[in-house]
Symmetry: D2
Subunit: 344 residues, 4 copies
């Protein structure tokens, strides 16, 4: 018996990536796909790679067929999951929100960054932050998962081993991050036209980005002390991939940082620590659920540089969501997720 | 018991794509990977997506370990498979040549286009052209497969239904084809530097390209008459994908061409015929073994336009090679090959 | 005294390209820029390359300041120039329409393709098709120019020498054309998001494209007989550039085609004929007003292949418009237009 | 009388960019172009945008025709200019080295980073670092210019106003820099094939890059004290453009940083300071000699973020070289350099 999956908000890249991964998943299958705007259309009318592959039709997001599912994924803008997750939970249907509604524990902080009241404090308290490498055991018991943001995933995996061992100064961390354009979604938008971003590169959201409070919250949860974080996102002229270059001050310049990382992730299939002097490339994890991390101590300035790459739609969204689903249903955590990066 | 696979010439994109697909194949596994230039190196030293994924080491191409395989794939420049295939066949090891050595039946024509004597006429006679949609039954019995070229695969699938039903004039066929740069391989080459081809587009080989005699031979084999073909390849500023736009004169302008294609491929998983007015995009089949085909009759000029897309490394090389392997070993033809196109 | 230029519809890529070229023009200057949507904004608020370069503010398209100009360029969707050109002409202000309103001589054909009545038959009769290599002398006397479409420019320059010398069969011409995404404009549009078109290639408008009747009209004007044309546009994963690969049947296979082209264009600065065996690349003309053309006779199929490249925003739009302006004002035709292609 | 220019090492992108800019320069012209490897070839055989534009032939680098020049540009690998600059200086021919031979004042530091003895200490002492915004008056009198590296140009312009006013802590500066692939040159190289870097992003040289000592030297020259610098270069999947995101600690968080930058560069044509909240994009300066800079104070972490963009071949190489030439010959500093960024 396969896990029956519903995808709410299936018109974007995250919804499509869920479909793509689940097609290869031996123990789960997509049962319903919804989209208010695309109701009645076939998947292949929207995503041309689906011709002859799937005959599914988009339903409305209030279609009863969703209640036949074992789990629903919200691939929706913020505000949607918050107001609808309860309908599924009360029917014993598990929920993974790939949006931001349940990521920030403090509803006031959330409201400040997302310009909206948080209407579901109790669900917020129940939701588990879905980073398996940090919260695996809690995820297994959860009904409601807040799937992490893409930038936070790359940054948290890069800093967790250091902060939990108190190897760096938590007050001065810089995360210079770069993302492909698929992170900006699939809506018609002048700013993400090919002609506006190909052959160009730019920072954005420098004064403040919604992933900042999320990263800060989780870093402080690991370090158990306040964290001073500067986070700068940039837009890459490509579709998939995130790279984070992180700068930190080592507490003890003689610590064996590489060993620390290798040890921290030795049982984690989806986090690969690179050999000394080898730096990660986003292509290495494209279309996959993998994260690659490299560390470099820069002697002349006494800085530690940690570099981390993920696919923002893979480990940064749909891949991690399915990893969470596997855990929630007692499946093998790696099921459906072992494809390696697509190169070239 | 999994089929043991050897890959000879594993330093390029085709070898890597074989590795990537076989990682997902339930009934086959890579046993040996060879490269004269990379001997002793780990796969992950060469392909950064392999860190923590494979611990294989490149061996020399004459390593005895190859003889433990059930099948070897030659992913080598022309001339290599010709001289070495016999060593495997005589040990009852099957051979698929992803190069050009056994594609042209007439050794003189081959020599003219490849500037080299053909030294293995008997193997040439035995080799089967590995296009399953044309030669499926023969492939099942074959020991030695000439895996088709990338352009030929796109063009043959687009023309087969028309030529075998005598629906077009065979004397005036134009194939205007476009390929991503991965078709040019992974060797250091000024002409395929990013800075030389990004944001640009060009024709090449207009006066003659080695895939011309291969396409012509197979078209004439289908039509059983001489074919007048003009074939123009172009280079796209991207890595993966081939599109062929083919122009032909309809014999009977009232023929139901779409029905003809749908009928011809109704049992073929890997060839999808698009609805009327929908044209194929290379991204729809990226990283997959699928081909998408569309037909459009242009009334004002009485031309039939057939458009076909494949991934040159997938259905145009490694995917098709594994499809052939599946047939040769009596496996399910689709095993390991059902991933859909990666989009975006 | 510099020619005072007004640009109507300055929010798109064509308007910006006019600005960019005119900045280098010694005898003309931009006096007014209008945009209904951007009224009151500074140019640099819209185009970030203008910071510190221009202090111009967008005005409304009915601002009286336009009447101070010597010439206005319409860089607007079809329908706009038609209804407004007269206002300028009656004030002795010259007009160049970079849109389609005056390109098709027959208003019924125009209406069929553009789904709109043509309201200005008399202006249509007066308008001159602004291809200087064909209509130079008439352009010099014109008040109203229909600036050619981008595809038509590439195709006409490639076929003019052949048709005027009756060297090819006019009944069977195929133009397989490819364009960068800037041809689709700067409006927010899902179909031209980077993630939808990068690393992909596709045909579009195969059953009919608005440049078809324009090309056909001009080819028939040159050949003075009916022309059988098949025209297939494709979208390239890049921003600037058009390539046309054109197939024709030679009337006399012994004609010296290369000499014919060299002779036809020996006095044309902006059309360069390439040596035998050298094929054009779109990058060679990027950001310039040049067109490069190559011819190749394919003996085995008796086809002539003509290949032509332009920058769709340069010779295919703004560059050619300024070339027309130069002619209309008795300036040196090449003024401001001699920049060579930007490579890499 | 135009300045006669010789270009030594004209086979790469920097040499080509010199040619492209000088074609528009009213007071200088290219007299000789040399390349050992390309001797006897026409420029248009190597750079396809030159067909019909230039009839120059590559000469050998020891051709006497070089001695007819007023100035020679070395666009050569390090080590070449060092050994040959003297030949020109002694003939009263000025020299601009676009390579690295004269950038580092201390020959021992140079030798450590470039793995080569420095053979010309006296020329090293004479050479002027060619950053006009810092050393304009000295450049005017110089015979020998060390044209700055691309990364240094972007970083120095971003930090000069802060260091000379002592507004930041010089001991903790981080420069996270990103460059297009043209910075890696035009030699055949597997690592810069399109298929290796398109749709990917990676850090490189993290443990040490040759531009590090150059940046450090110049920062310390401005600040007149030791500087603690961490410099991380990254490779962008595009051809042209550098972005530097720089992190520094403000000494006085109430300082008006934007005013400081506006004031520092108010008379500099080629450095544009962006309004508050507007961040630079590399496309804004593509193909130009401009630099755009933005500053953002991040309150929650008390960091100052300075962002700077240039075209690595323009202001980062050939454009700046010609700016230096203009100064050395008493020409208008801006001649030939006022083209704005090419967008899209």
């Amino acid at each position: 018996m396969k896990v029956k999956v519903g995808i709410i908000g299936g018109s974007g890249y995250t919804g499509l990536e869920l479909l793509r991964i689940l097609r290869q998943h031996p123990s789960a299958e997509v049962h319903v796909m919804t989209s208010r705007a695309l109701e009645g259309k076939k998947l292949y009318d929207v995503f041309p790679n689906m011709h002859g592959i799937s005959n599914l039709t988009y339903l409305l997001p209030d279609d009863d067929k969703l209640y036949e599912c074992d789990i629903v994924f919200f691939a929706t803008p913020h505000g949607v999951a918050m107001n609808n997750a309860g309908l599924f939970l009360e029917r014993n249907i598990k929920v993974v929100d790939l949006g931001a509604d349940f990521r920030i524990n403090d509803s006031k902080i959330w409201s400040n960054w997302y310009n909206m009241e948080h209407t579901e404090e109790s669900l917020l308290n129940e939701a588990v932050y879905g980073q398996p490498e940090i919260y695996r055991e809690t995820i297994k018991e959860a009904r409601l998962i807040a799937n992490p943001g893409c930038y936070p995933t790359a940054v948290l995996l890069a800093l967790k081993p250091l902060l939990e061992k108190n190897l760096i100064d938590p007050s001065n961390i810089i995360a210079d991050c770069k993302s492909g354009a698929s992170g900006a979604g699939r809506n018609a938008n002048q700013a993400t036209l090919l002609c506006e971003i190909t052959e160009s590169f730019k920072p954005y959201g420098v004064s403040g980005h919604r992933h900042f409070p999320e990263i800060k919250q989780e870093l402080e949860s690991i370090s158990e002390c306040p964290v001073g974080l500067t986070f700068t996102p940039h837009l890459l002229p490509m579709s998939r991939g995130i790279e984070a270059t992180i700068y930190a001050d080592l507490v003890d310049s003689k610590a064996d940082i590489l060993a620390c990382f290798e040890n921290a992730y030795k049982n984690e299939e989806f986090v690969k620590i690179l050999p000394e002097g080898v730096y990660p490339e986003t292509r290495s994890v494209k279309s996959s659920n993998y994260c690659q991390i490299s560390v470099q101590y820069v002697e002349h300035s006494n800085k530690l540089v940690i570099m981390s790459v993920i696919d923002n739609l893979g480990k940064g969204a749909a891949g991690q969501a399915i990893q969470n689903m596997n855990l929630m249903f007692g499946l093998n955590e790696q099921e459906g997720l072992l494809q390696m990066g697509l190169l070239p």
